[in-house]
Symmetry: C2
């Protein structure tokens, strides 16, 4: 069991970067030189460099060379779905409302539709161990043939609801995360009697050509949610 040559090449260059021999912006030994250095063919060297590029270590400029990338400190990957997070998981939902409405200005704007189009609104409460943990509203642009089956809606996540109509792959998503104080209505829904903050997550679903399909706003009790992210 030996590591493939391209892996060795990638790791050697990675070592030089981590050790400081190569700094961000520096040019890397050319591919032909690396061929000689490692006694490998150019395709193999390029495969090694492709690994480094996909890991964000290097980038290339045609006609010039391969360069060490300045690492992006800001990027994190988080795993989010309204039904489960790192400290709690929804085991029951209650459907508060399923309706067809005309959007107000703000909603029409957000979904990029005119105010006389029909919009489906779904309001739900999420429960963990019998306690309400989140209040959830979804707005979907109404499309012909869109099946609104209450039973199916109960436990579905947003992408699942949407995916009845479109391919699972052809969806882009955007997330906004912020903190808020609950109003009186929210306090009633979530059984909040004393001071407690809400973590609000807005989820926007877009078709592959960037047209808004739906908007979801989930307000979590602050004591029942923690989002986790990581880099590298």
């Amino acid at each position: 069991m030996v590591a493939p040559v391209y892996t060795k090449i990638a790791e050697e260059i990675k070592r030089r970067i981590n050790k400081g021999e190569l700094k961000p912006g520096d040019i890397i030994t050319s591919e032909n030189m690396l061929c000689k250095e490692f006694g490998a063919s150019r395709m193999t060297v390029r495969k090694g460099l492709a690994v480094l590029a996909s890991e964000g270590y290097i980038y290339s400029i045609p006609g010039k060379g391969n360069f060490v990338q300045k690492p992006d400190f800001k990027k994190y990957i988080i795993s989010y779905d309204e039904m489960s997070n790192s400290i709690s998981s929804v085991d029951k939902t209650r459907l508060l409302e399923v309706n067809i409405i005309r959007p107000d200005e703000k909603l029409a704007n957000s979904l990029q539709i005119s105010k006389n189009k029909n919009v489906i609104v779904i309001r739900r409460l999420f429960y963990t161990d019998g306690n309400p943990v989140a209040y959830d509203v979804k707005y979907l642009q109404y499309q012909r043939g869109m099946p609104i089956v209450e039973k199916e809606l109960q436990h579905a996540t947003f992408p699942e609801i949407i995916s009845k109509g479109t391919s699972l792959f052809a969806i882009k998503k955007e997330l906004s995360i912020y903190a808020r104080i609950p109003d009186e209505e929210m306090k009633r829904y979530l059984n909040i009697y004393d001071q407690l903050a809400l973590l609000v997550v807005e989820q926007k679903l877009l078709s592959c050509d960037n047209k808004p399909i739906g908007l979801g706003i989930t307000s979590f009790r602050g004591d029942y949610i923690k989002l986790q992210g990581f880099s590298e």
Copy 2:
């Protein structure tokens, strides 16, 4: 200007997936068959498949074939740094404290060090347009030769502070995001007089071998922060 062959191959297969001709779990035409279908060499076909794999559309099992991947709805990419977010940007900081302390149980645990080790604590306030927007605490394991220069600390983000000692690349990061009600001390620091929630972001920095290097906790005024994420 024509697209390279491997791009065409990737897009054709992507089309079949989005159109529903290929569903998650389905096996894809073998590489040798694709060679014939597109009149390309196997390396070119494999490059096309590599593109699809890196985009999460397919995965491969050696000896069996390439298969359509079940899309991961939960994954989002967010861009986070304590100095700037989508609705505000820190333009001034105030250094409240730089000190060397012995960690309490919880902190020692979090940094995976014994309680008699020295820990550097840095407490800062962040301002936007003259208003305090966030309270920031960082704990770093003290290491010999670690320079604590107040001027440098003022405006540095967490990775920047750490990177004085280590290579920029050799750092892993973890994030926890939650919402809280501010206590009285926090309200004083952040000039909060009425009801306002905090968005708290905990940042943990780890060396490449998963040893904790530092812990940062930043409490943002809820009206001054919104985190943004996206998928695809």
